[in-house]
Subunit: 273 residues, 2 copies
């Protein structure tokens, strides 16, 4: 898995009792030198190239080409998770990894972020050789996804609703990301806090001043009326306790401004005098 990676994936893998290995990463995800060094250690690589959960980061074109080349050389299957890919703000992300390496990739899509999470529907694109096995595993797990929900979504797709709806979400989330970036620049001045600028999706990744622990600060922040997800839970190993995930999609611009101010106040309170 990437470092950090999606917590829900780690939880989904857990019942199989895997040994999860975190590959070193940077602002685009997978560090290819580290991946190549650990040849033979993994059965597959789980990767979320677009507006990743938790970091919001995106893998660029060159990194995608190089990752696919490395994966081919290592005969390493890729599990590409793409729930956020449609939520780009200015330009669509580069082609999926699966489109470049279809014989070695499983692609996961979702209706949760573009339509409704309460429907619990997604889809998978897999090589013909393993699709029947995946179908069998799905059947063993839950027989099938609700046919009622599948029909509802099929009607929504046929109607063209998503083509009209997704651009609305994009511009809404972009405005909210901008509000968060403005608030961070304003409120964190003078504090040793860093953050990235996600080009889409729902999340922004921040890092607190040296010596601070996001999990330890959370209760104080909640007391001031703002919550975040401490970053540590997203690491398969070697967690960075200074990191945290901020979401800009369910709060209004005003709430974002208030929340970031409350977070900054929490940090100031905890600074060494």
């Amino acid at each position: 898995v990437e470092t950090p990676t999606y917590l829900g994936a780690l939880q989904a893998f857990a019942p199989m009792e895997p040994e999860v290995a975190g590959v070193a990463g940077d602002d685009q995800g997978i560090d290819l030198a580290d991946l190549a060094r650990r040849r033979g250690e993994a059965r597959f690589l789980y990767v979320l190239p677009n507006f990743q959960n938790p970091t919001g980061r995106t893998m660029g074109e060159a990194r995608r080409q190089a990752l696919v080349q490395t994966a081919r050389e290592l005969a390493l299957p890729l599990l590409e998770d793409n729930p956020y890919g449609d939520l780009w703000f200015d330009t669509p992300p580069p082609l999926p990894l699966s489109a470049r390496y279809p014989e070695g990739s499983i692609y996961l899509g979702s209706f949760s972020k573009v339509l409704a999470p309460g429907l619990r529907l997604g889809y998978m694109v897999a090589p013909p050789a393993i699709a029947p096995k995946l179908l069998q595993a799905k059947q063993a797990a839950d027989l099938h996804s609700p046919t009622f929900n599948q029909r509802v979504v099929a009607e929504v797709l046929r109607d063209g609703f998503l083509a009209r709806h997704v651009p609305t979400i994009r511009s809404l989330y972009k405005a909210q990301r901008d509000a968060m970036l403005e608030a961070l620049a304003r409120e964190m001045r003078g504090l040793d806090v860093s953050w990235n600028v996600p080009a889409g999706g729902m999340f922004l990744w921040a890092r607190l001043p040296a010596g601070m622990d996001a999990a330890a600060l959370l209760p104080q922040a909640v007391e001031r009326g703002v919550a975040f997800v401490p970053g540590a839970a997203f690491y398969a190993d070697g967690a960075d306790a200074r990191t945290l995930r901020l979401s800009f999609v369910t709060a209004t611009r005003e709430q974002i401004a208030t929340g970031i101010a409350a977070l900054a106040a929490t940090l100031r309170e905890n600074l060494q005098p």
Copy 2:
């Protein structure tokens, strides 16, 4: 597990790579002497006491009392699956095992057989000590069941629809069971075929003449227009190849008559001369 037991449960357990042990059984399910003899072999017992899938059999009051007593003595947790319990024909089945041994039982209920399988909704009753762990496992598996479907079912329940609908299903399925029993008595005359008389549910269990293999006969039966599920798949071990499961719920009385006649013709064709 019981012998035989629900195939879908075996498939659901399979990814955990358990060693599945089949306990000997009779027309009421679990053979308690065999269960006691195998003390310490199992982490839990999966049991379907009402109108079981695949056999349609039901555990009587005395057997339930004795099973719960044995389970207590062995400190053996019970996983009680009850999707068919509301589908009784003349009298409701005895109290669930979980009602007698709540501290050692997990009870599973379902809306699939009384409302709609396409909603994929059920429920669980578990001791307070393990409920949080089960919730965690559910969250790891799929985050949650679709909230949309949960709201739909909540509305249907509030409206009292089930109280009106379930009696309709009961009398429909009872008439269809009777049609199947009549057809069997008529068509299987002179053949060494045996079957049970389910007191509810959807299934009837039959056993073919010595030397016959239900799985081998299936293609011929399908050619004559009737399908069944060969019993062998429902055994964790030591399958009885002569057994088969017949469903009487999705076919009309006329189709049932035609289907049983076609099955009898298939058997006659395969009798040793």
